[in-house]
């Protein structure tokens, strides 16, 4: 393109500079990931073995694995997300689609935004008072409920945001064809906002999978295995927390290995969810 405008060169170089900065920002972001992953791999891989997945957490000085912690984390995270996601999505839907400017939406939006930043330990305390003290003992179920309360605000927020981004013309077109409101939401708006909503759920899972504080006073921990949701239950973050701060080398090794496992699991999960989301789009 021949351009006689004398400002064009300056505009062009300004654009190049800004784009260069954006690229630098990406490299900067990736560098952190590489550094942290390198440290995790460096410290964690040497402890990886079949034992990690088949043995329970050992006392210091003996061999063992993380089986009980992995099982407990899977159960509580899954249950927390299964409880929290539908509630969050439905509430977010109400706020975006039905009562966007109603009083209920305003109040929920307000409380929700504030609780996004709630220190998770506070949520653990709430569940402790409501469930653990009433039941008279710590339980995996209480842990799952605490996690679900952390999931809800994240999912509500992203669902509402993503539904608001769906162009109204889509809804109007569907309504004009005689589609009832609930089907417009479910068949049109959800489909258009799906990628963003999946991202929201993923962010929630990611946030929940590493939570230590809310589990400490709800699920506690359990050095023995078992999927008994009615008793104390082990989880990876709590085990990592306890073992990383212990003086014993074999416990510290397990902590690093556990950290590696959590991180790799979340990576696999994100890739999987992305692939599913993009498949269903076609």
């Amino acid at each position: 393109m021949s351009n006689a405008n004398p400002f064009y060169g300056r505009r062009k170089s300004r654009s190049n500079l800004m784009m260069g900065l954006c690229m630098a920002a990406s490299l900067f972001g990736l560098a952190w990931l590489v550094m942290i992953l390198a440290a995790l791999l460096w410290n964690g891989v040497s402890g990886l073995s079949l034992d990690v997945f088949t043995q329970n957490t050992p006392p210091p000085g003996s061999a063992g694995g993380l089986l009980n912690a992995i099982v407990g984390s899977l159960i509580m995270t899954a249950l927390g997300v299964v409880i929290g996601t539908p509630i969050g999505i439905l509430a977010g839907t109400y706020m975006a689609e039905y009562g966007a400017h109603g009083k209920l939406s305003l109040v929920v939006r307000f409380i929700n935004d504030i609780l996004l930043s709630a220190p998770s330990i506070v949520i653990g305390l709430f569940v402790y008072e409501v469930m653990v003290v009433r039941m008279g003992h710590f339980s995996g179920f209480a842990g799952a409920v605490a996690l679900s309360i952390i999931v809800i605000p994240v999912v509500v927020r992203t669902t509402e945001d993503m539904l608001n981004l769906v162009p109204n013309q889509l809804r109007e077109a569907a309504s004009a064809l005689g589609m009832p409101r609930h089907l417009v939401i479910r068949r049109i708006a959800y489909r258009a906002a799906r990628a963003g909503m999946v991202t929201g759920v993923l962010l929630a899972i990611a946030r929940v999978s590493g939570e230590t504080a809310p589990l400490l006073f709800t699920a506690l921990n359990n050095q023995f295995g078992g999927a008994n949701l009615n008793g104390p239950m082990a989880s990876l973050p709590v085990v990592i927390f306890q073992f990383a701060l212990s003086p014993y080398k074999d416990w510290q090794q397990l902590a690093w290995t556990g950290a590696l496992i959590i991180t790799l699991s979340v990576l696999t999960l994100s890739i999987l969810a992305r692939v599913i989301a993009s498949r269903s789009r076609q």
Partner: protein, 332 residues
């Protein structure tokens, strides 16, 4: 769009065909059901999250009654004499979140722009996922990594450099006053920036990709450069969504607990230097809650949690106000 029931004429016309009536009734029932289901979920969220708030206010009441407004203005934090004031944690929370947002917002938006405008197609997804993975690393890992890997690195390289760089400049030399401990408010802010980055990036990227290509193509068509398209088309179009992402990030920065606890130095002191140790509200709660036995001590810690909500509220109110002004300016 806001009306939720179907107007009379539709129902009135139904006598023409009974089958149609049945379908319309089913639709109406379905809609009613779905509306009430979503409303029930919203009410449930309100009850649940409201319950957390009520429990918090109840727990904080004894400390607030004991110390009154002095709780917010006093710097003393003495578990032995049971005199508690929250000024140091408030200061630390604001400073670390500020450092984090100063770094994470431009970098996060930069990455999102790179991913949606510049990056070659085959690389977009892997890089996007890689950045999102930063959000998947548990905060306790950031803490341990920060303590054992990052802090020693800062102590030996970056911090001495900052101290000598800003040493001769008045005002700035107080902000970067030594000695370099490695851990402190700057380190906590940096770790927070890394943790917040994926939240801002992934939301910003999602909303950037909702910009209709027609708009961008039109801008390119009249000779805009890439940066001009981003600045004048993409960012204004997605403003609200971007601010939502920034808020989500800020929310995490304000409330982040474990990672900060490991690297901030946990000193109940207010220092002008960002290299000095400090503390944040959530770090104080995490550090001291398990061992706090006295009633006033426990209550003071819960009051800190309540304060965090108040700070969040103020931040949100400011953000909303700014949004409103932006909209008014753009609307006319």
């Amino acid at each position: 769009m806001a009306d939720t029931s179907f107007p009379g004429p539709l129902a009135g016309a139904a006598h023409a065909a009974p089958a149609r009536t049945a379908v319309l009734n089913r639709f109406r029932l379905g809609n009613l059901l779905f509306l009430n289901l979503t409303r029930a979920a919203a009410v449930l969220v309100l009850v649940l999250l409201g319950g957390v708030m009520v429990a918090l206010i109840e727990g904080a009441a004894p400390a607030l009654r004991e110390f009154g407004f002095g709780f917010v203005t006093s710097q003393s934090w003495n578990p032995v004499t049971e005199k508690f004031g929250a000024l140091a944690p408030i200061y630390g929370t604001i400073v670390t979140s500020l450092i984090a947002m100063l770094i994470a917002v431009p970098v996060g938006l930069g990455i999102a722009i790179f991913l949606t405008e510049l990056c070659p197609m085959p690389l977009r997804r892997p890089i996007g996922i890689a950045i999102e993975l930063l959000a998947g690393i548990p905060s306790i890992i950031y803490g341990i990594w920060g303590l054992f890997v990052f802090a020693p690195f800062l102590q030996t390289t970056v911090q001495p450099f900052l101290i000598s760089l800003f040493g001769p400049i008045p005002l700035l030399n107080a902000v970067f006053a030594g000695p370099p401990y490695g851990i402190g408010m700057l380190t906590a802010g940096l770790i927070l920036a890394i943790m917040v980055l994926p939240f801002i990036t992934s939301i910003a990227r999602d909303v950037f990709s909702t910009v209709p290509p027609v708009l961008k193509e039109a801008a390119y068509g009249i000779g805009c450069t890439r940066w001009e398209v981003v600045k004048n088309v993409v960012l204004p179009f997605t403003r609200v969504g971007v601010i939502g992402g920034v808020m989500l990030g800020l929310g995490r920065a304000l409330g982040e607990t474990m990672a900060v606890t490991f690297v901030i130095g946990n000193a109940h002191k207010i220092s002008a230097s960002i290299l000095a140790p400090g503390t944040t509200i959530s770090a104080t709660i995490a550090n001291e809650f398990t061992e706090a036995v006295g009633d006033i001590y426990t209550s003071s810690l819960i009051a800190l949690g309540l304060l965090l909500f108040v700070i969040t509220f103020i931040v949100l109110a400011i953000a909303r106000y700014m949004l409103l002004r932006l909209e008014m300016k753009g609307g006319k």
